[in-house]
Symmetry: C2
Subunit: 214 residues, 2 copies
């Protein structure tokens, strides 16, 4: 099963690429936005292609070609303005969904943000980001794709613990990016996560069990 990781050069993306690359069941395809990133993945023996999320649906579809599943974990990042939040985190995500449908990829996982589905719980200092996530998630729910929306709490760069809490609604919390990548990996073919969304923070349950029990 070939998994296209959109945003493969991000921290979650890199962890996920490693997990896929080291497994027997999956092959990763790194989808990145810079030529040197493509080369860097290829140097490690990982398939990679260049995609501009501000480009057309057709261009994105070309980059996703041959994938069996798509993980969208790209983000415009904190250093760009809200214009990019709108054009990458929202419109880029939706164009990626449209591209997946266009080339008959059915499985789609998106990395969202804790409580993005409940406006009253959005983080006051990140409202535009939460709004972009909220509407991208709503579009995915209606896309007809077999989706999973993973909504992690505050992202940490420390090593993962392998233990999380996953549920439809959780209070604010944090989670290492490595554990988010593991939760994505565990969700890929876990039917319990199909057409569902869940909040995800550090907790007490082994990741594979946690995603089965949402």
């Amino acid at each position: 099963m070939k998994v296209a990781v959109v945003g493969a050069n991000g921290q979650i993306g890199k962890h996920l690429i490693d997990l896929l690359h080291n497994s027997e069941d999956y092959k990763p395809m790194a989808i990145v936005r810079k030529e040197e990133q493509v080369q860097s993945f290829k140097d490690e023996g990982i398939a990679a292609s260049l995609v501009d999320l501000e480009g057309s649906v057709e261009q994105i579809a070309e980059g996703l070609k041959d994938a069996d599943a798509v993980v969208f974990t790209a983000g415009s990042g904190g250093s760009t303005g809200s214009d990019k939040t709108l054009l990458v985190d929202l419109d880029g995500a939706v164009k990626t969904m449209e591209a997946a449908k266009q080339i008959d990829i059915d499985r789609f996982i998106i990395v969202s943000a804790l409580q993005a589905h409940h406006r009253e719980n959005w983080n006051d200092s990140l409202l535009p980001y939460y709004a972009a996530k909220h509407y991208a998630d709503k579009e995915l729910e209606r896309s007809g794709l077999t989706y999973t929306i993973i909504r992690p709490g505050g992202l940490l760069n420390e090593a993962g613990t392998g233990k999380v809490s996953a549920a439809e609604n959780l209070s604010r919390g944090s989670i290492p990016r490595e554990d988010v990548a593991r939760a994505i990996f565990a969700s890929l073919t876990e039917k319990k996560t199909y057409n569902r969304g869940f909040d995800l923070i550090s907790g007490n349950n082994p990741i594979e069990e946690a995603v089965k029990e949402i």
Copy 2:
């Protein structure tokens, strides 16, 4: 029929309030964001209420109380950043839809932008604005409200001509704000515009005929 005009202090809003105020069939409710604007409308004998589109759905619903229809013509404007484009033009519009549904207002007209439904035709210099409009319009289409999406071309402040071109898809063009207000007014109870969207630019057809023929 009471028509709540969200963004009544804008140029299109002011023209529309005048049309409603001078008609026998309608009563306008000016929905504005500053206390002095409320007072200014009340001084002219026009019902007005204060609504912050960055507030909650419940607060917006309180402001729309007693209306039979809602026209959303608010915009964050060119002088604010894309954060407000996301939070007002997109999320503010969708919260207004949710507020309308919450208090059983069924009729909802939104002012969008020419070709907002076709990404490849978005104005390159206004991409975040077009993206916000695109997703607000998509949410409205799925809201269950009896909607009309009016997508005007480049907005002019000159006097209206009363003649327009209205269709599902039109090439780039412009239109006086006064004529947009007249097209909204003509659409309010025109069933041909129910659950439809149309592009609108200056043209050769009298406005009332044009909206009947879309």
